[in-house]
Amino acid sequence: MEGSPKILARDFRFYYGQHCALKGIDLEIRRNQLLTIMGPSGSGKTTFLRSLNRLNDLIPGTRMEGSLEIDGVDIYSHGVDVAELRRRVGMVFALPVALPMSIFDNVAYGPRKRGILNKQKLQDIVEKALRDAILWDEVKDRLCDHAGRLSGGQQQRLSIARVLAVEPEIILLDEPTSGLDPLSTLKIEDLLWELVRSYTVVLVTHNPLQSARVGGDIAFFLMGELVETGPSSEIFTRPKDKRTEDYVSGKFG
């Protein structure tokens, strides 16, 4: 299993009604890999991300073709427990949003829904998740405060803690810094390298600079197609495709 890919997309297509948003994606993501999906708005990168935890199922009129496997199991096949899939594939959204409850309850939300109600156990989970999201020191004295009082950057790390609390295997981040100031952005980017030690991490960003800062591997999406993949050093210095070169050099996007 060690050598087999964590995520494997084969000719994966996705449609919003008539509109084809992903035109046949073939992509392999390894265990404990940090992959950045880079591309302009409308390139299909968020659609791909939301296909990995089947969150697109919530949007009426969508359908998919091809296959998308996690640990060798097609997640769109019949009989897949979608709730369990989403638990395993955690997601951090573009805008930092705290659920309208306390900081503690935000992090404990997922575990509670999984049936963990023991107070001590919940406290341990919440503390570990907040420590791993590098938020613990800032909030440990006010866990019962309403989470809406946190700053944007703190709320985004809270979102990460909320995901970590359900012990996922994969963490998807959809432009997690788009609403944040540079300092908060840096904190999140640093955090990615902490996360990738224990999880498979997929980051979506439209920003080539962020892709370069984060490093790792890059998949460049354009108009629903995967143009090329490779280590960030290669994508930025020796892109194989002219379109990639244009994008990373700021000619468009």
Binding site: N53, L55, L58, P60, A83, E84, L85, R86, R87, R88, G90, M91, F93, L95, V97, L99, P100, M101, S102, D105, Y109, G110, K113, R114, H146, S159, R162, V163, V166
Partner: protein, 284 residues
């Protein structure tokens, strides 16, 4: 440096005038409300004594108290809301969280808007023909409550639906993305967030049914006796008030009844909102 202004009236003056107009409208609204409440309490409150609240009426209500009417009002309204609120909120949840297409909610919305425009006396007539005569429930607490619940159900559905729709979609996505089922999402984030709005709708429905006269005369009757079962006829406070005033039995006792009704509504509202606030405070 002198600032050039566009031609026409000084915008600062316009701004001040409009502020005064809006403030005036708000004060008028509050003023009318206060005037009515103070007027009725002023004329009726001195009638309200412990014995007025706890005794049965004598001589058609010329003397004695209004205890059976208080019981009647609470029974009829309470049962109506107990029926309509769960059904209404469940309908709203179904329409917002469980149906994907837009047609059913649109039909329901059209239906509720049409029903809201129907005079209550038509509901009374329907309740009389259907519950009282056809189902042979007679003039009774049950007939009155069922008819009132039919009348307030659309309001509860509509207000609950609005409240649930106002819950940010991001909350739902977060909940689903953490591996929650639909039911867990509805109970975990949707309903707690929508609760204040839902309670507002239910409180409005309570107010509408507790003040309803026409429906209740047609379906619950005008009996002055204390009901022994849900199939006994009752008289509610507004009906008592109406009969006392209309038949010229006792205007004083009519105002006393009105004062009790107003206080009852206030107590229900304050209780409902304080419960909601306590609930909201826990999550804030």
């Amino acid at each position: 440096m002198k600032q050039e202004r566009a031609k026409g009236p000084d915008q600062h003056v316009v701004n001040r005038r409009m502020t005064a107009v809006f403030a005036g409208a708000a004060m008028m609204t509050v003023g009318v409300l206060i005037f009515i409440v103070v007027y009725i309490l002023n004329r009726g409150l001195h009638i309200v004594t412990p014995s007025f609240l706890s005794e049965a009426p004598r001589q058609m209500g010329r003397a004695g108290g209004i205890y059976p009417a208080i019981v009647g009002s609470i029974l009829v309204t309470g049962i109506a809301v107990l029926i309509a609120a769960p059904v209404g909120v469940a309908t709203a949840i179904y329409l917002t969280e469980y149906t994907r297409e837009d047609r059913l909610p649109r039909i329901v919305r059209f239906g509720t808007e049409s029903l809201a425009g129907i005079p209550s006396i038509i509901f009374g007539l329907f309740g009389f023909l259907f519950f009282v005569i056809y189902l042979d429930l007679g003039w009774s607490v049950l007939s009155g409550a069922l008819t009132l619940s039919a009348m307030i159900l659309p309001t509860i559905v509509r207000t609950s639906e609005e409240a649930i729709r106002a819950v940010p979609n991001a909350y739902r996505e977060i909940s689903y993305a953490l591996g929650s089922t639909r039911w867990q999402t509805v109970t975990g984030v949707v309903l707690p967030t929508a609760l204040p709005g839902i309670v507002t709708g239910v409180v409005l429905a309570v107010g509408r049914s507790i003040g309803e006269t026409a429906v209740v005369i047609f379906t619950a009757g005008t009996s002055l006796r204390l009901p022994k079962s849900l199939l006994d006829p009752v008289r509610t406070l507004p009906v008592h008030f109406y009969i006392l005033a209309r038949e010229g039995i006792s205007l004083d006792n009519a105002y006393g009844t009105a004062a009790v009704l107003i206080i009852l509504v206030l107590v229900i509202n304050i209780t409902a909102y304080s419960v909601v606030n306590r609930f909201a405070a826990r999550s804030r």
